[in-house]
Amino acid sequence: MTVTITWYLLLAAGLFSIGVAGVLIRRNALVMFMSIELMLNAVNLTFVAVSKELGLIEGQVAALFVMVVAAAEVTIGLAIIVAVFRTRASANVDELAEMKG
């Protein structure tokens, strides 16, 4: 049995769902963030797989852009988490409930 694109897509879907579960389940801000990175990776995998399927290079270009943006997002996000940690000494997102109502 040859590897078809469906395999890759299913794998990406699985990784994405695990990422979603991670975001919803975990309370540690850093782990939530990592779950988001996992989801981005899943999307990148999809892009590249479809690019191979259709024979177009644009998919890889899109994946490259996603990576760049993800890198920038990680930078800022972690800086925010650190700043929050400085004031609260906790990385527990459940305690960041001040924007209520």
Partner: protein
């Protein structure tokens, strides 16, 4: 044949890493799991003839992003206590439902005709070299490329600003 074996092995690695990331109580273990997943995905990229992207994945994601994550984890402190803490059972069930829902709908979406139509899969027709990607990148997508450059610059500046942020000293507030 080789491709199938490679796929199965590294798919397994990716899934194990992902589940490990979500399940581990120690954030450092989570980071390790994610690292494993990223390496596995990089191998997948190679299998998909996206050599340049694979290299970038290892360098940027596994090399820079995860390193940054580990730095911050060490900075903030490894706190293994109540990683799951007070979780209402309903939350776990609803999370499971949502995750399964996502998986199902994405899998269904993957059956679209434009994907399963004429397939060039399996044939090494795609040139995933640096030259090909660069041709596309600096040709059609120049402006977007430059925008991402700006984005990175702004992100760096923002991070520096956040790093220097200090709250107002307490004496001023007391006055």
């Amino acid at each position: 044949m080789a491709e199938t074996i490679v796929f199965i092995i590294f798919a397994a690695v990716a899934l194990v890493g992902a589940v490990g990331m979500v399940a581990a109580s120690n954030p450092v273990y989570s980071a390790m799991g994610l690292l494993a997943t990223m390496f596995a995905v990089a191998v997948m990229y190679v299998a998909l003839d996206a050599h340049f992207i694979a290299a970038v994945q290892v360098i940027i994601y596994a090399g820079a992003v995860m390193t940054l994550f580990l730095f911050v984890i060490m900075l903030i402190g490894v706190d293994t206590s109540d990683a799951y803490g007070t979780q209402v059972p309903a939350q776990r069930i609803s999370t499971a439902v949502v995750a399964v829902g996502f998986f199902a709908s994405l899998a269904l979406a993957g059956r679209a005709a434009w994907i399963t139509g004429s397939s060039t899969f399996g044939t090494p027709n795609l040139n995933g070299t640096v030259e090909a990607v660069a041709d596309e990148l600096f040709g059609t997508w120049t402006i977007i490329f430059l925008s991402t450059v700006m984005l990175l610059t702004i992100a760096a500046l923002g991070t520096i600003a956040l790093a220097y942020y200090r709250e107002a000293p307490a004496e001023e507030v007391a006055e």
